[in-house]
Symmetry: C2
Subunit: 120 residues, 2 copies
Amino acid sequence: MNPATGIAPTPEPPYYAVIFTSKRNSSDDHGYGVIAQRMVDLGSRYAGFLGIESARGPDGVGITVSYWRDEAAILAWKRDPEHEKAQLAGQHNWYADYHVRVAKVERAYGSLRTAGKHVT
Amino acid sequence: MNPATGIAPTPEPPYYAVIFTSKRNSSDDHGYGVIAQRMVDLGSRYAGFLGIESARGPDGVGITVSYWRDEAAILAWKRDPEHEKAQLAGQHNWYADYHVRVAKVERAYGSLRTAGKHVT
């Protein structure tokens, strides 16, 4: 993402978004943070990764949106062995609830100066 | 949204998501909060509104995802006169940067007990 604004400089649509909404429980904050950062580092190395945006408020509700070139890239990352372990840990230890939506971005606009330019 | 978990109990796909990512500046927190809540109240009365999820972290980066039955519902809400005023206020006063993506949700899964049931 753009470190100044937290907004991912994605290319022109179409591309895919994975919207991951979750509610954290209160356990094991440190272990969670380490694994969450590791998943960002690992996932962003996958072919077809375009960017990621994330926010979590004081109520424990968080939204992470990762952007991908196509469905094949999303599935390859979902099946990464280390990611699979993290998904199970999230389900069993860290999330009171979560929901994942896979969506095709059809149009985009905004104030972002880099809109339409995939800045690496 | 589900008040216990912050996750919107959306119906089975397909439906639409509007992903609004923003970076707040530091001005006028109170005025912003009042208008932001008003927009949630007003938008959720529009035909085709399915739900909303929102999170903003301590770095000022926020993600709000609203869910809609179709593109026509999204456009009707975008053109609401009070919403148009709020959009301008956001651009000029409250956001250092923002980006909007309109995406068609193709599949969804998660731990949400209400998944696939549109709870009103």
